[in-house]
Amino acid sequence: MARRALITGIGGQDGSYLAELLLGQGYEVFGTVLGNPEEYESLAPLRDRLRFAEVELPNAEDVRRALRDIEPDEVYHLASASFVPASWDDPVGTSTAAVGAVSAVLDGVRRERPEARFVNAASAEIFGAPSEVPQRESTPLAPLTPYGAGKAFGHSLTGAFRRRYGIHASSAILFNHESPRRPEQFLTRKVTRGAAAISLGLEDELRLGDLSTRRDWGFAGDYVRALWLMASQEEPSDFVIATGESHSVEEFVAAAFEEVGLDWRQHVRFDESFARGAADSPELVGDPAKARDRLGWQAETGFDELVRMMVVADLELLKDQAASPR
């Protein structure tokens, strides 16, 4: 019988890549989304191969029923509000979503499906202003935003359930991971879309905030493979998933414009309204040594390749849109 996976938040960037990976590995894939599955473009090519569970997170009864019905071998908890700045616009909603959902899923797994392997998607935002660079699994948590606090909650609760109940529960501390499926409000996608639009003559300029912030950016398609490898390990454990390299926003911008043969300096304008506070400036860069040693995982897609992939995808998307005016 095919292995079964349940992915919460399957409609997001990571959910769609993970679903593709698992389908390719012969899994039966079940997912939960917020709202109507039909509305998720990222899932369109997969829709007839996926099944959706009616779960309205953080409803614990929904979760338990889905686990009883599906009997998954693996549970990936990806559902979360993912846009960090927005977590200040709706801190209660963000917290409820993050904190309630992971509690409901972990509690459901240990009660209904304790033999399942559980992987939680945490984030580098749990480190906030980190006390060491690069950050590793043992780096103390010090989240600076409601999003980061919610992710810290999920990360810690996963470890607590693993120790208490002996379930196969692991938490992945995912550093920034991008792709052409990133929504446009994210910085990386905003840059690649902007560069593509300017090169096509659709726009004149790109307005950005602070360019000096340094981040560790990888490709989402690589990162979901790490999640799967974590579920496949004999022993559950937490892992930093990162490239180990940091780049500044300026480097990202330069690479994106270079891809379309433009000089970024002529097109990028500084806009104070996008400058996030000092709270957002610390260097986040992960040390993926444990993932390399224990999972045999490393980021296969380099920084330049990631930027190129995103710019190329945005060029195609914009050309398609230009070719079929509504």
Partner: protein, 332 residues
């Protein structure tokens, strides 16, 4: 209208009742938030009901918090409400998350909306340290919580710090180590011992069943600890403080003193019962109260022995049928 007005969530709990008494003594107008005034157990504040105002409000319901703040118009808010019994947090992690974790965000949002000048106290806990990385623990010690309760409290601490740093709220987190009293719930080991000793002494029971006697804790007296809460909100700058005695004692020592106080030998009455062994037992929790001592001028007024003996005396009085058993342990 009094100049100083306080709203206390969790006023019916151990800490809430001592804090309400302290603030009344200091001339505050005291408001207590209760979830459903009609059904809540108000035993601990029964003697205060004509001096405090109870307002309905629920940490699960943001609108009720805004309206409670508008009614009380407090200058200080003490968030003491929590699902505080660790074993229950394993059985009800979702409720613990919603109430003990997200509840803090809801209340901070309500404070920010209604009056950002309100001073906010968040009751944090040494359970946040969990698998401790250093002994003793201070304000800089990283958290590694091991129970849904500890995880939820760590979240509450982080979000309190976030609101202080991002919105400039006067929001502080008091990291309180275990603090006990005659008002402690009977499910907690200290009270279980003092109650058990009193029962055995009075011939109402023959034995006391306990779990791990070697577990060590830093135990203080709740009446002393609520004073530290108040002191934190009187500072010029909002900061976080560890509140602890700095000493650890084992459950065995607690039992030994408690039985000794009534002239009994603990070894004859205590049976260890694996049923009470607590899962995911935390490591050696002992707080370093140096910052509270130097900045707040706070120090515990009660010794460990005074705490234990005071709890036993209170249970003896209560079980002997005293109409108003003492719940305040005098300091020597």
């Amino acid at each position: 209208m009094a100049d100083r007005r306080a709203l206390i969530t969790g006023i019916t709990g151990q800490d809430g009742s001592y804090l309400a008494e302290l603030l009344l003594e200091k001339g505050y107008e005291v408001f207590g938030m209760t979830r459903r005034a009609s059904t809540e157990n108000v035993e601990r504040i029964g003697h205060l009901t004509d001096r405090i105002s109870l307002i309905q409000g629920d940490l699960l319901d943001p609108h009720s918090l805004v309206s409670a703040l508008r009614t009380a118009e407090p200058t200080e808010v003490y968030n003491l409400a929590a699902q505080s019994f660790v074993p229950t947090s394993w059985n009800q992690p979702v409720l613990t998350a919603e109430f003990t974790a997200v509840g803090v965000t809801r209340l901070l949002e309500a404070v920010r909306t209604v009056d950002p000048n309100i001073r906010f106290y968040q009751a944090s806990s040494s359970e946040m340290y969990g698998k401790v990385r250093e002994v003793p623990q201070n304000e800089q010690t990283p958290f590694h919580p091991r129970s849904p309760y500890g995880v939820a409290k760590a979240y509450g601490h982080y979000i309190t710090v976030n609101y202080r740093e991002s919105y400039g709220l006067f929001a502080v987190s008091g990291i309180l180590f275990n603090h006990e009293s005659p008002r402690r719930g009977l499910e907690f080991v200290t009270r279980k011992i003092s109650d058990g000793v009193a029962r055995i002494k009075l011939g109402l029971a023959d034995e006391l069943r306990l779990g791990n006697l070697d577990a060590e804790r830093d135990w203080g007296y709740a009446g002393d600890y609520v004073e530290a809460m108040w002191m934190m909100l009187q500072r010029d700058e909002p900061e976080d403080y560890v509140v602890a005695t700095g000493e650890t004692h084992s459950v065995r020592e607690f039992a030994e003193i408690a039985f000794g106080h009534v002239g009994l030998d603990w070894e004859q009455s205590v049976k260890t019962d694996p049923e009470f062994l607590r899962p995911a037992e935390v490591d050696q929790l002992v707080g370093d109260p140096a910052k509270a001592r130097s900045d707040l001028g706070w120090a515990p007024r009660h010794s460990f022995r005074e705490l234990v003996e005071g709890m036993v005396d209170a249970d003896l009085e209560r079980l002997s049928g005293s109409k108003s058993p003492s719940v305040h342990i005098p300091a020597q």
